[in-house]
């Protein structure tokens, strides 16, 4: 870097500080080569806007939390497409910002983009959200973190079952992929653990962010008599607000949406990414080996539930808290046999239990009995 230029740079930074009064974010991140030498630079990449009330926001909250760690600098970039764009963004963070730990947070970044960059930059740590890292097949400097949020969706289902009068629940999802199917199934099984004849109607919108279509899906479901809704889309804001306007109950997803539905919000399934972020940052700072697989549920602090809303009855809270206590002790199994899917096929034989860490669950390709919809 040209040393002749740095006084100008610093003066400009000061000017920016004076101009904005809110340049705290700009200050320390600036010219890491000159000012942040010897410390850890972390790059975080989002697929959507980082204030989407959903997936990216949950990640951004963790990024904001680790920002407070002394000696740590965070650089962020949002709305990065799952193309060569993300490869170039990762490379820029490494080459131009000297980042040594990256959080590419969208599932679609993993193969081929993260894998390719990890091979090219073996000294850099890549902590990816959701990918299934396999020993021997994938580079050692890649780590995968993910949370068993289906536990929270199961609890959503328990609370929803107490709130529904029609015994018809609704689920608006983007695409029929294993992560999503697991949530739909857990939600339904949770509800059926209270009232076995409950059904869940699913609508797949086809993409992760389609506000008008999501609102249309919510209205269609409500017209069909559904009175409790939940979802798995990137930004649940529109669905939660539509449910509140149509006066039905709703369970949130990704982040806390209770402020959007003060009357109808029951509870919600939230990520708590601070836990894996902190683990990765500590490993990077101390130089220990890359944690390749980080998984956890309520017990490990990877996910959490939203506080109960006014619609959650005392009985619902009691029942859900009971299940949650067992989950916190690691004693509760959601997916156990005998379990049939909605075509009548036995998917888990009697006597078999899949604990959360079982990778079979990460390959789920069915909807359980009681779900109306097709994979």
């Amino acid at each position: 870097m040209n040393s002749r230029k740095s006084p100008v740079t610093r003066r400009s930074v000061l000017k920016a500080l004076a101009l904005t009064g809110a340049a705290t974010a700009a200050g320390p991140a600036f010219w890491p080569r000159a000012e942040a030498a010897g410390s850890l630079v972390v790059g975080v990449i989002y697929v959507g806007p980082k204030d989407d009330y959903g997936y990216s926001q949950a990640q951004a909250q963790a990024a904001a939390a680790i920002r407070k760690i002394p000696g740590l600098t965070v650089v962020e970039q949002e709305k990065v497409a799952e193309t060569t764009d993300v490869q170039k963004v990762m490379a820029s963070m490494i080459e131009q910002d000297e980042a040594t730990l990256l959080f590419p947070t969208s599932f679609g970044y993993f193969d081929p983009h993260v894998l390719k960059m990890a091979e090219k930059y073996p000294e850099i740590r890549f902590a990816h959200c959701g990918g299934l890292w396999q020993a021997g097949k994938h580079p050692k400097n890649v780590g995968s973190y993910f949370g068993y949020i289906d536990e929270c969706q199961y609890l959503n289902g328990v609370v929803a079952a107490h709130a529904t009068k029609t015994k018809k629940l609704g689920f608006i999802a983007a695409k029929p992929i294993p992560q999503v199917l697991r949530n739909i199934n857990a939600f339904t099984l949770g509800a059926q653990s209270v009232k076995p004849d409950i059904t869940t109607q699913v609508i797949f919108t086809g993409d992760w962010l389609l506000p008008v279509k999501e609102a249309e899906a919510a209205n269609s479901l409500i017209d069909q008599g559904i009175d409790v809704m939940t979802m798995h889309v990137d930004s649940p804001k529109v669905i939660v607000e539509t449910c509140e306007r149509r006066r039905i109950h709703v369970c949130g997803y990704h982040a806390d949406q209770s402020a959007l539905a003060p009357k109808g919000y029951l509870t919600g399934a939230e990520w708590n990414w601070i836990t894996p972020y902190t683990t990765h940052v500590k490993a990077a700072m101390s130089g220990t080996s890359m944690p390749n697989i980080l998984r956890g549920g309520l017990k490990e602090g990877y996910v959490k539930t939203s506080p109960y809303g006014p619609g959650a009855s005392a009985a619902a809270r009691k029942r859900a808290d009971g299940v949650k206590a067992k989950m916190m002790k690691g004693e509760y199994v959601i997916f156990k046999g005998p379990l049939k899917d909605n075509t009548g096929r036995t998917v888990i034989p009697a006597g078999t239990s899949h604990v959360q860490t079982d990778v079979v669950l990460e390959q789920m390709d069915y909807l359980v009995a009681g779900v109306i919809g097709k994979v």
Binding site: A26, Q77, E78
Partner: protein, 367 residues
Amino acid sequence: MSSATATLGVPAADTPPSGESLRERFGGIVESIAIPLGALLVAMGLFGLFMFVIGKDPLQVYRLIYKGGFSSAFAWQNTLQRGAPLILTALCVALPAQAGLIIIGGEGALVLGALAAAVTGHALDGSATLVVQIGMALAGMVAGGLWIALAGGLRQYRGVNETISSLLLTYIAIAVFNQLVEGPLRDPASLNKPSTMPIGDANMIGSIPGLDVHWGLVYGIVFCVLSYGLVRFTTPGFAVRVVGGNVRAARLVGLPVGALVLGACFLGGAAAGLAGMVEVAAVHGTANASLIAGYGYAGILVAFIARHNALAIVPVAILLGGINASGGMLQRHLDLPDATVLVLQGIAFMTILASETLYGRWQGRGH
């Protein structure tokens, strides 16, 4: 009555190329370099003013744009890589424009080209690498070409406005693509990211030696040069421009208008389909929803800024790539939102388009 090509910005075919005086020709070259550069400077000034108003230091912003897009070998590779797909998708607008058609459906041709390439690549897996790659390229070009030719045919034989039909066809192409990728063509092993069967690592086309930029850049430049030659120096190219300039005149002199329109559309669609093939064969290895990244739409902008000149497309696409590359710097170091890049592009292109009015003022021709 204003002819279609005049409004499209395509130079009219009947301009006698040899009748220009040296002074006029020289003036034209100076203009075509000085005017866009001047417009770009004005745009940077306006953008700096905008940054100043919202409380950022414009000099800092310029420095970061330079650093992110153009300062080093790394930055240039970033810029070139981002510009590469836009060269091919811009041709999907520029080539039909020679025949007087405004096509905005490059995104649809790209995704269908990618799908055809991925399916072909998987089907041919095991053959010689070159055979697989050529097969993929042909499949992508034919699929994309036919899709845009459909829009051209609807226009030619049914009178359906091609701008609308190509837009509608894009939405339909994406729906078909998604339905097939998540349905019959899905690789059962692609769990959380539904994709077609992989074409196999051996069949990937990889990067240009010594550069971290994939071969799509070279394909794009070659396609542009060939297109320029075809349009400028061959009889069919001249005939297409006559069709674009005045359909009635073209019919009067007995030109096969339908074939020329379909041909221009097919070639344009083939370029976008090739862009799809490159995304599959150089980047993703399969066809999946990540391909739908808006390259087709960005290409429209590139083509109009380049005034549908195939050679001008290359620098314009690279400029757009550079702005995109530098956007990351602005986000990461000034905490500006990603939309900053859109604002900069918007200002830059509005200014460049407004500067079109200046052409011809210093050529001694008047107007």
